[in-house]
């Protein structure tokens, strides 16, 4: 589950204002009061997931092939540092892992523009897990349910009384790892559209900064293990990225060489 709020930091450790970083789109249930049980009910993203083979043109630096065969070789640059580690899960026991401030639930309509025929997904993301158990783990747990839908899903939601809150365009890469959990890392730029649905006229929300998200599916029975695997994976990425709970400044990799060395190692400090 993608958490709506995230902090993006430049390599100069510039902290983006929280408000900007949470500029995600929401569809709100119609009628505000009567039908609205949550404040930020829905999100409409144009489009949704990234394609791992795609190369972002904005990334100047080139790194050698990655340390793990799981990784698709990619170009990396100064990365936006994701404060939140988030995860997705699938029913029937949806459970997600995330490092973020507790937020209300939301529903998003995602359109994958990478395919020849755009495909749509409805995604509901629940509020964060709370309590003593939640505080002890280094990730945030949120429920998530997804459903593929036909292309008139946005019109259907409008007719049901939902309103578009905002929409965003995500462009970037995704990488898949198997490290104690099925971990997905996405590196993407978040763009806003100045006109409704005008994906060709999108402008970056934070120019030159990409959002890095680390997600992993879990169930109610496995979330502790998955949380541990995700945390460990984040530590593995520590030379390159410091992933932490929102509100905490992430560290910055001092040099690209260190980043490359980290990725070329096997995670145990051995250079391949």
């Amino acid at each position: 589950m993608i958490h709506p709020g995230f902090h993006c930091h430049k390599s100069e450790a510039h902290k983006s204002p929280k408000k900007k970083s949470e500029a995600q789109s929401h569809l709100t249930p119609a009628g505000a009061g009567p039908l609205c049980r949550h404040r930020a009910a829905a999100v409409c993203l144009f489009p949704a997931p990234c394609v791992s083979s795609r190369r972002p043109s904005s990334l100047p630096l080139s790194l050698p092939s990655c340390v793990s065969r799981d990784l698709i070789s990619s170009q990396l640059s100064h990365l936006a540092f994701l404060v939140r580690v988030i995860s997705t899960t699938t029913p029937p026991s949806p459970c997600t892992l995330s490092l973020c401030c507790p937020v209300a639930s939301e529903v998003r309509l995602l359109c994958d523009l990478e395919q020849a025929e755009p495909s749509w997904t409805v995604r509901h993301i629940g509020g964060a897990m709370r309590g003593a158990g939640a505080e002890q783990i280094s990730v945030l747990v949120r429920t998530m349910v997804e459903s593929k839908a036909s292309k008139n899903v946005l019109r259907m939601f409008y007719l049901l009384g939902y309103k578009l809150d905002h929409e965003l365009l995500r462009v970037g890469f995704s990488f898949h790892f198997s490290r104690g959990a099925q971990i997905t890392v996405t590196v993407s730029s978040i763009n806003k559209m100045l006109k409704l649905h005008a994906t060709d006229e999108a402008v970056p929300v934070t120019p030159g900064i990409q959002l890095v998200e680390v997600t992993a599916p879990a169930t109610a029975e496995t979330y502790a293990e998955v949380a541990s695997a995700v945390s460990f994976f984040c530590e593995y990425l520590a030379p390159l990225l410091h992933l932490s709970k929102p509100g905490i400044s992430t560290g910055v990799v001092p040099t690209a060489a260190a980043a490359a060395a980290s990725l070329m190692s096997d995670g145990g400090g051995t250079t391949l």
Binding site: P29, A30, G31, G33, P34, L35, R37, A41, P91, S105, V107, V122, H124, G126, V145, E146, S147, K148, A149, S150, N152, V153, R155, M156, L159, L160, G161, Y162
Partner: protein
């Protein structure tokens, strides 16, 4: 997917729908040459209402919002707003999402319970409409499927011919009513000529709407 037509039983004024008529209709199907019983079938249709704090306030939300699940598409769910001629096909997990959103609640659920018959290039279902968790018969439908074709236009003359034969068989029983097809208006739903489960969902929704209207008129 091959073309289907769904027709609903319209009782003559003063008569009612009952299990006797259902039995007679089933016998008509079984009297067809080469008709072989081929198992049971089920679909569920649910009417949803907006979850308003004050139900007395007139709302701008649709009142003809319904959902259909079909046995032949166990992982899919279909939402229809008939007044706006829109149908949405989604994974069945959409029900979990709707449950979480709590913006619409299930009002009434009806089951379509059918017996399927194979007869050469055709398949027929005799379908009874019953409320969920109840046995009272609310209506009777038949579904006619022509297996060789997926094109609705191309199948039309063949289906009409079959329907003439069917009506002739039915006429021998002198039952108090007849089968009617409700025009599904697929084009208004922007559906293609190639038949799909969305077409089936729309037909069942249209047939049920007619059954309800007829019942209200009789009442």
């Amino acid at each position: 997917m091959t073309v289907k037509w769904i027709l609903h039983w319209t009782p003559t004024p003063g008569s009612v729908v009952n299990s006797q008529i259902l039995s007679e209709i089933s016998q008509c199907v079984e009297s067809f040459v080469n008709a072989v019983k081929d198992g049971r079938w089920k679909a569920t249709l649910t009417f949803y209402r907006p979850n308003l704090r004050d139900q007395s306030i007139p709302s701008e939300f649709p009142r003809d919002f319904l959902g259909i699940s079909l046995l032949e598409q166990p992982n899919k769910y279909y939402f229809i707003i008939r007044g706006n001629k829109i149908i949405l096909e989604a994974d069945s997990t959409i029900l979990t999402i709707m449950e979480k959103l709590q913006s619409y609640k299930s009002k009434v659920a009806l089951n379509f319970e059918g017996v399927q018959y194979k007869m050469g290039d055709f398949q027929m279902k005799v379908v009874k409409v019953v409320p969920n968790q109840a046995e009272s018969l609310r209506g009777i439908l038949i579904e006619i499927e022509y297996l060789p074709l997926s094109s609705i236009e191309k199948a039309k003359p063949i289906m009409e011919e079959f329907l003439e034969v069917w009506r002739e068989v039915m006429s021998k029983k002198s039952l108090p009513g007849h089968f009617t097809q409700t025009e599904p208006h697929f084009a208004e739903y922007k559906l293609p000529d190639n038949y799909t489960s969305q077409h089936t969902a729309i037909q069942y929704a249209a047939a049920l709407a007619q059954l309800i209207q007829s019942a209200q008129l009789r009442g």
